[in-house]
Symmetry: C2
Subunit: 93 residues, 2 copies
């Protein structure tokens, strides 16, 4: 059977596409909020990064990952990937 007409694959791929659309929309919303955070911190005079806050976020995400069957190591890598992008945008802005 061809990849294009395999019903199991087609069903899975349509779920993956739905999830990816949701992920993109959530990420768009997250970046809107971190942009606001960055502007507010600059205005008020807070440091751009906050290692204590990041440590709390990582611990929380690792727990949520474990509960939902996601690899906790990946959840931490994922948060770092997102935070790096936020920092990159601050530098470019």
């Amino acid at each position: 059977m061809s990849v294009d007409i395999d019903p199991v694959l087609e069903d899975c791929r349509s779920s993956i596409d739905n999830i990816d659309a949701a992920l993109v929309h959530l990420l768009a919303e997250r970046f809107k909020i971190t942009k606001r955070v960055g502007e507010h911190k600059a205005k008020v005079g807070f440091a751009p990064s906050d290692p204590d806050r990041e440590a709390v976020q990582i611990a929380r995400l690792r727990n949520l990952a474990a509960e939902s069957g996601l690899d906790p190591v990946f959840s931490e890598k994922f948060l770092r990937f997102i935070v790096d992008e936020v920092i990159q945008h601050h530098k470019l802005a």
Copy 2:
């Protein structure tokens, strides 16, 4: 004012935390499905990766990103990050 009691920051951080929890749960679900895809492909004899499908996914996500105000370049980086993790898990499995 301290970072800990700034109401604007507190409000933004609580939204970021909600979004991150949603992201983790969606990613957990996505990996469940890609695991099923990997097992099915192995059983049926399809190649593990499908560059044509990936090209379609990237084009679609870039469009969704542009519509939702997310940097399309980031959406592509994001998909690559996720797909690399899927491939990594296949290798480890």
